[in-house]
Amino acid sequence: MTATVTQRVMSVASDIFGIPPSTLSAESGPENIQSWDSTQHLSFILALEEAFELQFSPEETETIKTVGDAIKLVEGKLPPAGG
C-alpha cells in the first residue's frame, strides 16, 4: 500500500520543520510552528516540488499558509490516482 498525499505532505513537513508527525495537523502553520520562517517556507515548497515532481506557480506558492493548504494544492496538481 502506498502512502496518501496527506501522509506524504505531513512527513515532508515533519522533516523540514523538525517536529514529530503526531504533533502536525492541517491547521499547522507559521502561527503554531516556530521554525516555519521564510527560509524554511522556501525549503518546504522546494521539498514538496521535489517529492511530488511538480512545480508551483508563484500564485500557488502564495496560497500555502498551512500544511492543509499544501495538501490541497498538491492533490489538485497530481494526476488522478488509478489512471
Binding site: 502512502a3 501522509q7 512527513s11 515532508v12 515533519s14 522533516d15 523540514i16 523538525g18 508527525p21 527560509t39 522556501l42 525549503s43 522546494l46 521539498a47 516540488e49 521535489e50 517529492a51 515532481e53 512545480q55 508551483f56 506557480s57 508563484p58 506558492t61
Partner: protein
C-alpha cells in the same frame, strides 16, 4: 512506508544510545531517499550523534549570486554520509566581490578550509546570457576574466583556504564562443595558484539536462535558479571537491570480479563465456575497467576480493583478450571462498594501510550489505543493477576523486610490488643490520620547494601510523609555515637498490630562543622500520645544533593509529619533559647527546639546498 519506519527506528536507537546502529540506518535512509526532506531529518540526527563518531570537521564558505539556503541541508547531509562534519558560512546574497576584496569581511573571519565561488553567467556576463548584440564579446571576455583574476588573487592574498570556482554555464540565447573563451581563461588563472580549482558548471548541468536544470519561476520570485530536484546534484558536485580536500578520499579500491570486472561468472561460464568486449553486453565491463585503470594511473591502489577458484579467476585476468586491467595493476589479490571482510582485513595488513582508507566495489548487494555491517569504516560504493551505469558511478564517486596528482602517486603500485621483493629478501639475511646494509639506502633531505609542496601537504593529510603529531596541513598552510621566520619544512626522499620510494617523509621544525621544536615528523608506512626515521631525526638534531640550538624537543600526540611512533623519542635518548591529556613533550639536550646516522644509510643533501 519504509522511510517513515526507518526514521522511527533511528530515533529509537538514538534514544537508546546505540550510536553505531543509528549511524548505519541513517546511512541507509540517505542512500534510499537523498531528498531535501530527508536531509533536514538526517542532519539533525547526525548532529545528535556527533560525539560518538569520528567525523572530519571541515568549514566551507559559500560565495554566491543566488539563493543557496535550501541547498545547505542537502550539502551537510551528503557530507555526513561521507564522514565529514561540514559547517557552512553563507556569504551575503550577491556580496561576494566585496567579501573577497575586504580582508576584514566575514568570509575571512569565518576561517574556512574551503570557499566556493558560485557566480552565474547571467550575473557576470548578462550581455552574453541575454544575447545582446550591442556589446563586443571580446570586451565582455576581458572584463569577466579581469574580475576573476582580481578576485582570485585577492582571495589567495587574504586566505590560504582552498577555493573552488564555478565556471560559466552556456547561455540559452545562443551558443557562445565568448563563454568558452572565458572558461578557458579561468582555467589558466586558477592553474597559477595552489589550491584553486575550477568546477565545470556547464558539464554538471549537461549531465542532468540543460532543459531540466533551471527553474525560471523560482529565479524571478526568490532568486533560486535551479529546479528543486537538482539541488542535490549541486551538493554532490561540491562533495567531489570537499571529500578529497578533507582528506577522506580512499587510498585503496577493492574490486569484485564476476559481474563487476566482466559479465557472467567465470567458474560457470568459462573463459569463452564471460562478457568482456568492445561492443555488446561486454562493453559496459570494459568501461568499468577503463575507469579503474584511470584511477590506478592517478595513484589509487587497486586490489581484488573475489569468491572464486583462484586458477579460474587468474586465467581470466591473464588470458582473456578483453581484459584492459592486467595482474600488475593490482597491489593485492584475495581470490578464495572466504568472507570478504576477512579478505579486506588481510589486504589492509599486506599493504600496511588503515582499513578506513578502503573503498569496496561489488555488484552483489548482499556482499555490500555484509561488508557494511562487518567493516563500517570501509566506504562501500553503491551500484545500480544496470552494469552500463557502473563506470559513471566509479568516475563520479567523491571518495575516488583525486585533485592534485603528484608524481609519486603514479609509481605507487610499482613500489608496492617492489616492496614484496624486499620483504622476501629480508628473510635470507642473518641479521637485521645485514639486511639494512644490503638495501643500500640513500636518504635525500631537502627544504620545501614548489615542486615538493603538493606531496608534502598530501603526506601530512594521509600519514597516520608513523606520525608524531598528526597535524594535517593544506598546501597553502605548508607554504605559509615554510615562510615563517625560524621555521623549516624539510622533505625526505628515499631510494635503495630496489628503486626510488619517492618523497616519503616530512619534518616541520620551529626555532625559538635556543630550542628547536619538532612540529611535525612523519614517515610513510612504506619505509617504516628500516631506521630511516633515525637518520631523519639525526639530521634534524645536527641541523638544529648547527643553528646553535641547545635543545631539540617534540610532542608525541597519540591517536588510534600512530602507535608505531609511540616510543620513538624514548628510543633516541629523549626525556619526557611533561605530559597532559593530549600527549607528552619530549626533549633532548643537544649539548650532551648525539644521534648518529646508522652507518648503512647515506644522507644526501642536494647541492644548493643546504641552509
Amino acid at each position: 512506508m519504509r522511510g517513515t519506519h526507518l526514521r522511527q527506528e533511528i530515533d529509537k536507537l538514538v534514544a537508546a544510545g546505540d550510536s553505531a546502529a543509528a549511524l548505519r540506518l541513517l546511512a541507509e535512509l540517505w542512500r534510499r531517499e537523498p531528498t531535501s526532506a530527508t536531509a533536514a531529518f538526517t542532519v539533525s540526527r547526525y548532529e545528535s550523534l556527533r560525539a560518538a563518531t569520528s567525523f572530519t570537521p571541515h568549514r566551507v564558505a559559500l560565495l554566491r549570486s543566488f539563493t543557496l539556503e535550501p541547498v545547505i541541508p542537502l550539502l551537510r547531509a551528503t557530507a555526513f554520509s561521507w564522514g565529514i562534519d561540514l559547517s557552512v558560512h553563507l556569504g551575503d546574497f550577491n556580496a561576494y566581490p566585496q567579501e573577497i576584496l575586504d580582508p576584514s569581511s566575514t568570509l575571512y573571519s569565518s576561517a574556512p578550509d574551503t570557499a566556493i565561488m558560485a557566480a552565474q553567467t547571467r550575473d557576470l556576463a548578462p550581455e552574453l546570457w541575454n544575447g545582446d548584440s550591442g556589446v563586443a564579446p571580446s570586451a565582455t571576455v576581458e572584463r569577466v576574466l579581469n574580475s576573476f583574476q582580481s578576485w582570485i588573487a585577492a582571495f589567495r592574498n587574504h586566505s590560504s583556504a582552498n577555493l573552488i570556482v564555478h565556471s560559466l554555464e552556456p547561455a540559452p540565447a545562443a551558443p557562445s564562443a565568448a563563454i568558452e573563451e572565458i572558461n578557458h581563461g579561468l582555467h589558466q588563472i586558477c592553474a597559477a595558484y595552489h589550491g584553486v580549482y575550477v568546477l565545470d558548471y556547464g558539464a554538471l548541468i549537461a549531465r542532468h539536462g540543460y532543459a531540466n536544470w533551471h527553474d525560471e519561476i523560482k529565479w524571478t520570485t526568490v532568486r533560486m535558479p535551479i529546479r528543486a530536484g537538482h539541488l542535490i546534484h549541486l551538493a554532490e558536485e561540491w562533495l567531489r571537491f570537499l571529500v578529497p580536500l578533507s582528506g577522506r578520499s580512499a587510498k585503496v579500491l577493492v574490486v569484485d570480479l564476476d559481474n563487476t570486472l566482466w559479465g557472467g561468472v567465470i567458474g560457470e561460464d568459462g573463459l569463452q563465456g564471460i562478457q568482456l568486449a568492445s561492443d555488446g553486453p561486454g562493453a559496459a565491463f570494459q568501461a568499468v575497467q577503463r575507469a579503474l585503470l584511470d584511477l590506478h594511473d592517478k595513484g589509487m591502489l587497486l586490489a581484488i576480493s573475489s569468491k572464486n577458484n583462484f586458477e579460474d579467476a587468474m586465467e581470466a585476468i591473464e588470458r582473456h583478450p578483453g581484459m584492459i586491467l592486467k595482474s600488475e595493476h593490482f597491489a593485492a589479490t584475495r581470490i578464495n571462498w572466504g568472507d570478504k571482510s576477512q579478505s579486506l582485513r588481510e589486504i589492509a595488513a599486506e599493504l600496511n594501510l588503515g582499513i578506513d582508507s578502503f573503498a569496496f566495489l561489488d555488484d552483489n548487494p548482499a556482499e555490500r550489505s555484509q561488508l557494511r555491517a562487518a567493516l563500517p569504516e570501509v566506504t562501500v560504493i553503491e551500484l545500480f543493477t544496470d552494469p552500463t551505469t557502473y563506470a559513471a558511478t566509479i568516475r563520479d564517486s567523491p571518495v575516488l576523486q583525486r585533485l592534485t596528482l603528484s608524481a609519486e602517486d603514479q609509481q605507487r603500485t610499482a613500489l608496492y610490488a617492489a616492496e614484496r621483493q624486499r620483504s622476501s629478501a629480508a628473510q635470507t639475511f642473518q641479521s637485521k643490520e645485514d639486511f639494512f646494509r644490503s638495501l643500500d639506502q640513500t636518504a635525500e633531505i631537502a627544504p620545501l620547494t614548489p615542486a615538493t609542496l603538493p606531496r608534502v601537504a598530501q603526506l601530512t593529510q594521509k600519514t597516520n601510523q608513523f606520525n608524531l603529531t598528526t597535524r594535517r596541513y593544506t598546501e597553502q598552510q605548508i607554504a605559509e609555515i615554510a615562510a615563517r621566520p625560524g621555521w623549516q619544512v624539510n622533505s625526505l626522499r628515499v631510494h635503495d637498490r630496489f628503486g626510488d620510494h619517492g618523497l616519503v617523509g616530512v619534518a616541520v621544525t620551529a626555532d625559538q630562543g635556543d630550542c628547536c621544536e619538532i612540529d611535525t615528523l612523519l614517515l610513510s608506512c612504506r619505509v617504516i622500520g628500516r631506521t630511516i626515521e633515525t637518520a631523519f631525526l639525526a639530521y634534524l638534531a645536527a641541523s638544529a645544533r648547527s643553528r646553535a640550538m641547545k635543545v631539540l624537543r617534540g610532542w608525541f600526540l597519540p591517536t588510534r593509529k600512530n602507535s608505531p611512533a609511540k616510543n620513538f623519542y624514548a628510543q633516541h635518548g629523549f626525556r619526557q619533559e611533561s605530559s597532559n591529556g593530549g600527549g607528552a613533550l619530549w626533549s633532548l639536550d643537544l649539548e650532551k647527546s648525539e644521534i648518529t646516522v646508522p652507518d648503512w644509510i647515506r644522507i644526501h643533501i642536494p647541492t644548493g639546498a643546504s641552509r
